[in-house]
């Protein structure tokens, strides 16, 4: 299908809405009712952000039909005859996920599993038996991931086939001769591919076929699949430094024994994202994968026992607003249909500058998949994480506000995230991963020169840079689960005794977003100290000369009024502080910090007409989006993509 058209509607900014500021928000209701209402509203927002429509495409990328209503769907799998669809749906309130089967023609559905809402039980990754009468899936029960089998009409008992001692079981296929179920497990060091014999009854022992190391330290599935005739094994590995699709020949006499090492060949040409679950055609003449650029690819398999394949050819490629991953696409067994869980509201993001009243001042660059914007201290540039539609890489880009010209700061396979600016606006620091180590790196804003590693974290850990002090001496960051606020010296003298990373705040509640005051004598931060998951902004002293970082000098002062989401920023003179509330209100608070901290009443600057929805786990809370003079605010505004086909 040729590229049709893509109509983008920039969501309009309605300034008249800005004065409402939620005054009608349950003034006469109790605190509990307010909390319940807020929770319900956020659940609805999350549903809106994550709901998907089960959509069937032909081999050219044309939409054939949609199935049922939007829902929190994942792991769609078409039955062998294409008449039914197995899919997992997550309950937006309980977070429990269950397996359902839809009739493709009518959209009627049958529940297959009934996990308990009082536990963390969940189901995932269904695959069909060759005759379409049974389903196998992974379910998490009683701290174990198990592989279960049940009738595809939902009747009869569930049978446990295998209970895995570890985690991250990825069920990928049921060989069309019925003999083997293929699945993999993975962790930060790589993955292991198994087959599970399907004949017989009761629990059975898996056969380990392949172990692949990960060079990137990313625990992504191998997405392995066994050919219908059990001659070939396809899988994705990053052993070359970037993810590619490989095919390994199995012994033609393979009979369930551990095979000897056999020939392996790389099939993908320009990086592969993943291989499709149930990704082999019924006649073993073709298999399917998704390239790094999001293209759905087909590879022809030549007759014979040797590893001979055609060149990968792109069947179709959807808009980058449809984020294909291994859990939201599968193929029919005849290779004629592809079912994709498409976002119900596919969007790209437009970098947009607002004034202090919330009015749009300018749009910067073209819409794209952007995350965590950071406005440079001189106000002339915006740094973002950008997901490249060409390579699939997560890189750091900077955009000049005046011209909209974008420049790649990084361009590499490892992910690069969470940019923050140096105080002189000359460079950008960001989080990246090499092997099992997360680090903070620095590079010039225009991508020139060498990358400099500022700081390496402990093995396996994730971190999120939050701020860089105006004097250039310190960075703040938080651990990946928002448990500790760290201060790291990065300026001159960091090789001296001062060069200790300081745990500035570590307690038993959640903390994040440590932002230095302009004189670096205070830090403002988010905390849910009073009530779990209800965040407020606090200010506490910072003194790198004190063992505790100065926090004991004075008690933290609460700044926010009725909750805070994040986006904390100080004005250059330290006399105003800004933050966003969970109701999407941009607030300002007047401050005096000498001789003691005194805060005024939070005042509304403007309210966003639409919620900013977290994507890929990137909450807007972490945006660093206010100019030092407090006059401009950078947002990533949704641009609705009305035609997802290209």
């Amino acid at each position: 299908m040729k590229s049709l058209y893509k109509t983008a509607i920039v969501l309009t900014w309605v300034s008249t809405m800005l004065t409402v500021c939620g005054a009608a928000w349950a003034q006469d209701t109790s605190a509990d009712e307010e909390t319940d209402a807020a929770r319900a509203r956020r659940t609805a927002e999350q549903f809106q952000a994550n709901a998907r429509i089960l959509t069937v495409f032909d081999g050219h990328g044309n939409i054939v039909t949609t199935i049922g209503e939007p829902g929190l769907f994942r792991y769609p799998a078409l039955s062998p005859d294409g008449s039914r669809l197995a899919v997992v749906e997550r309950n937006p309130e309980s977070r429990i996920s269950d397996l359902w089967v839809f009739e493709v023609a009518t959209g009627t559905r049958t529940r297959i599993t009934s996990n308990l809402s009082s536990t963390e039980e969940r189901t995932a990754l269904p695959v069909w038996s060759p005759d379409g009468t049974q389903l196998v899936y992974m379910s998490f029960r009683d701290s174990y991931e198990g592989v279960y089998r049940k009738s595809a009409n939902g009747e009869g008992p569930e049978e446990l086939l295998y209970r895995h001692p570890g985690s991250d079981v990825w069920v990928s296929d049921w060989s069309l001769d019925g003999r083997y179920l293929s699945f993999s497990t993975n962790d930060i060091f790589g993955g292991i591919f198994y087959v599970l014999p399907m004949k017989g009854n009761g629990e059975r022992q898996p056969i380990k076929l392949l172990q692949a190391e990960s060079r990137r330290g990313v625990d992504s599935p191998l997405s392995p699949s066994l050919s219908p005739d059990a001659r070939f094994l396809t899988y994705v590995s990053d052993e070359s430094g970037r993810p590619e699709l490989y095919v390994r020949a199995l012994d033609p006499m393979f009979n369930g024994q551990v095979p000897a090492a056999t020939e392996t060949r790389q099939v993908s040409l320009k990086s592969a994202k993943f291989a499709l679950r149930q990704g082999w055609r019924r006649d073993a003449g073709e298999f399917y994968y998704v390239a790094a650029n999001g293209g759905v690819m087909a590879v022809q398999v030549h007759d014979g026992s040797t590893l001979e394949f055609g060149e990968p050819r792109q069947l179709f490629r959807l808009s980058e607003a449809v984020d294909l991953d291994a859990g939201n696409i599968s193929a029919s067994r005849d290779g004629e249909r592809f079912v994709i869980a498409v976002p119900a509201r596919p969007t790209l993001q437009q970098i947009t500058m607002l004034d202090r009243k919330g009015t749009v001042m300018t749009e910067v660059g073209e819409p794209g998949r952007y995350f965590t914007p950071a406005l440079s201290p001189d106000g002339t540039k915006v740094a973002v994480r950008r997901n490249s539609p060409e390579t699939g890489n997560e890189d750091i880009w900077t955009f000049e506000v005046a011209s909209g010209v974008g420049t790649a700061v990084t361009n590499d396979v490892p992910f690069d995230r969470d940019p923050i600016w140096s105080p002189d606006s000359s460079s950008v620091a960001y989080h990246s991963r090499r092997g099992i180590y997360s680090s903070i790196y620095r590079k010039a804003w225009n991508g020139t020169g060498q990358v400099e590693q500022l700081f390496q974290y402990t093995p396996g850990a994730y971190l999120q840079p939050a701020d860089w002090s105006a004097d250039g001496r310190f960075l703040t960051f938080q651990d990946g689960c928002w448990g500790v606020l760290y201060v790291a010296p990065v300026g001159e003298g960091r090789d001296s005794a001062e060069a200790h990373v300081m745990e500035w705040l570590r307690d038993d509640y959640t903390v994040a977003q440590a932002k230095f005051s302009p004189d670096a004598h205070f830090i403002a931060y988010l905390s849910d100290e009073i009530e779990a998951d209800v965040f407020e902004v606090y200010i506490a002293p910072f003194d790198p000369g004190q063992p505790d970082g100065g926090r004991a000098i004075a008690k933290p002062v609460k700044v926010s009024g009725k909750g805070a989401l994040g986006m904390i920023s100080w004005r250059r003179d330290g006399q105003e502080l800004y933050y966003m509330t969970p109701d999407w209100e941009m607030m300002v608070v007047e401050l005096i910090t000498t001789p003691t901290v005194q805060v005024g009443e939070p005042r509304l600057l403007f309210r966003l007409p639409h919620p900013l929805l977290a994507r890929d786990g990137n909450s807007p809370a972490r945006w660093k989006n206010v100019s030092p003079d407090g006059e401009r605010f950078v947002f990533l505004l949704d641009v609705l993509v009305t035609d997802i086909t290209k």
């Binding site: 009683d142 330290g217 390496q456 396996g460 850990a461 500790v484 200790h500 990373v501 038993d508």
Partner: protein, 129 residues
């Protein structure tokens, strides 16, 4: 400069230490190696990013070992019915911990499930699984 960066990195790792940092758990623990220990809860460290239980256990009184079992963040328990007070009450008493073993072979593990003295079973999955 490169050299000084390296020095700083080493220092950072020493200062923070793997025990105190939030991490992708599979870097430290092998999830395929499950084991169980029953013994006396000697103390707990209830701090972010991860809580710890220290359990003295062994096959007999001659071979007691102190195991350090790592759990999720305290925030996990703020949202569940079992919390810090329940673990504090269990100090000095027998508990059973099912865990994933540390890759370095040390006396430590990542908690999957804890059974307190009164029979209460606390699953720390999926955060720790």
């Amino acid at each position: 400069m490169k050299q000084s960066i390296g020095a700083a990195c080493v220092l950072v790792v020493i200062v923070i230490g793997s025990a105190w940092a939030h991490h992708s758990m599979s870097a430290i623990y092998d999830f395929n190696q499950r084991f169980t220990r029953t013994g006396t809860l000697k103390r707990l460290d209830w701090r972010n990013p991860h809580m710890y239980l220290f359990v003295e256990a062994g096959k007999d009184q001659e071979q007691l070992e102190t195991w350090a079992f790592e759990g999720p963040s305290p925030v996990f328990f703020r949202k569940h019915k079992v919390g810090k007070a329940d673990f504090e009450r269990a100090v000095g008493r027998n508990i059973t911990v099912e865990a994933s073993r540390a890759r370095d072979g040390s006396l430590s593990g990542l908690i999957r499930q804890v059974t307190l003295t009164d029979g209460t079973v606390v699953s720390l999955c999926p955060e720790n699984c």
